[in-house]
């Protein structure tokens, strides 16, 4: 029974992996990875790692894959063209993969580990349950556990910083809070020297343009930007 389950799960996992590499549409890639992860969780169950299997399904197949789907939907899941301008990597990649597989098989066949051909250590009741894992996490492996939480915090902040909408990148002029809030005909010293540089030689029209309320111009520009932002989404 366990052999049958193993072969079903192993074939599912390998087929999912091949699907991730071979399929052209990013949506199908992500779906193939979900199949792969669920088959892998079945393999974990066969190895009596219940908690890891549950975490795999909940964290990976649930949360991380939803994140992937969101990003694929955001940047557009278009098919890749079938025939690209190849390059040497396209040919050498599979050769390298095959060589790596052969090397790993040789390493496994020539190993001195006796346990590899056995079915594993005798099963003790409670192996791999949340109780045992939690005890280990809070005693022997407390430091890695705390480091994991710190790492997740850093990653979350990093993702927010990386993916936020930056004004400097969208070609807008700098717009400070002061220029929106200050009353009419007041300004910074820098602006005052700019306006009075021409002295009396400024024409009537230009004088009017330079001395119009700053707020109105700023508001116009802001509307423009909002419109473009909506178009982008």
């Amino acid at each position: 029974m366990s052999a049958v389950l193993f072969f079903i799960a192993a074939i599912g996992a390998i087929a999912g992996a091949i699907g991730v590499v071979m399929l052209r549409n990013p949506f199908y890639n992500v779906l193939a990875l979900v199949c792969h992860l669920i088959a892998l969780a079945a393999l974990f169950l066969l190895l009596r790692a219940e908690f890891v299997a549950a975490g795999q399904v909940v964290v990976y197949a649930g949360a991380v894959m939803v994140l992937y789907i969101f990003v694929v939907a955001y940047i557009g899941g278009a098919d890749e063209p079938m025939h690209r301008h190849g390059g040497a990597l396209k040919v050498l990649g599979p050769v390298f993969g095959l060589a790596l597989a052969v090397e790993l098989c040789i390493a496994m066949l020539g190993t001195a580990l006796k346990g590899i051909s056995s079915k594993g250590a005798p099963y003790v009741f409670g192996f791999g349950t949340p109780k045992h894992i939690g005890t280990l996490f809070l005693t022997t492996y407390l430091f890695p556990f705390e480091m994991a939480s710190l790492l997740l915090l850093v990653a979350a902040i990093g993702a927010v910083v990386l993916a936020r909408r930056r004004r400097g990148l969208e070609g807008d002029e700098e717009e400070t809070v002061i220029s929106i809030q200050r009353p009419v005909f007041t300004g910074t010293m820098h602006e005052s020297t700019g306006i009075r540089a021409g002295g009396g030689t400024v024409s009537e029209e230009e004088w009017e343009r330079q001395h119009e309320p700053v707020g109105s111009q700023a508001a116009g520009r802001r509307d423009d930007r909002d419109g473009r932002a909506e178009g982008g989404w």
């Binding site: 792969h36 990976y60 990597l89 993969g97 790993l104 496994m108 590899i116 993702a159």
Partner: protein, 99 residues
């Protein structure tokens, strides 16, 4: 089933992931292939944990899952930033650091 079978499956999945990283131009798919490689390592860790009868390997696998989640978060943030700057989402085009 003997532990060696699980290790064989793990090796095959790792190689498929490595080939995917090499031949696919889309950074999103490259991230997926990295997931494949990390999962192959996880499978080997859990298999060895079963072989020794200790749970340390499972702890290691859980920590690897945490690292993978962080990597995905930052990687997807980078991809969104690339897309926002209207660059091609293609590692063959993004070769400014190539020299």
């Amino acid at each position: 089933m003997a532990i060696g079978w699980y290790l064989t499956v793990s090796a095959i999945i790792f190689c498929i992931g490595a080939v995917g990283v090499l031949i696919r131009p889309n950074p999103l798919v490259i991230l997926l292939c990295l997931e494949l490689m990390l999962n192959a390592a996880n499978l080997a860790l859990v298999a060895f944990s079963r072989m020794w009868g200790g749970e340390s390997g499972q702890i290691f696998a859980l920590i690897v899952m945490v690292v993978a989640a962080s990597e995905v978060t930052v990687g997807l943030g980078l991809i969104v930033a690339i897309y926002r700057r209207q660059l091609a989402v293609d590692v063959d085009e993004l070769s400014e650091l190539h020299g």
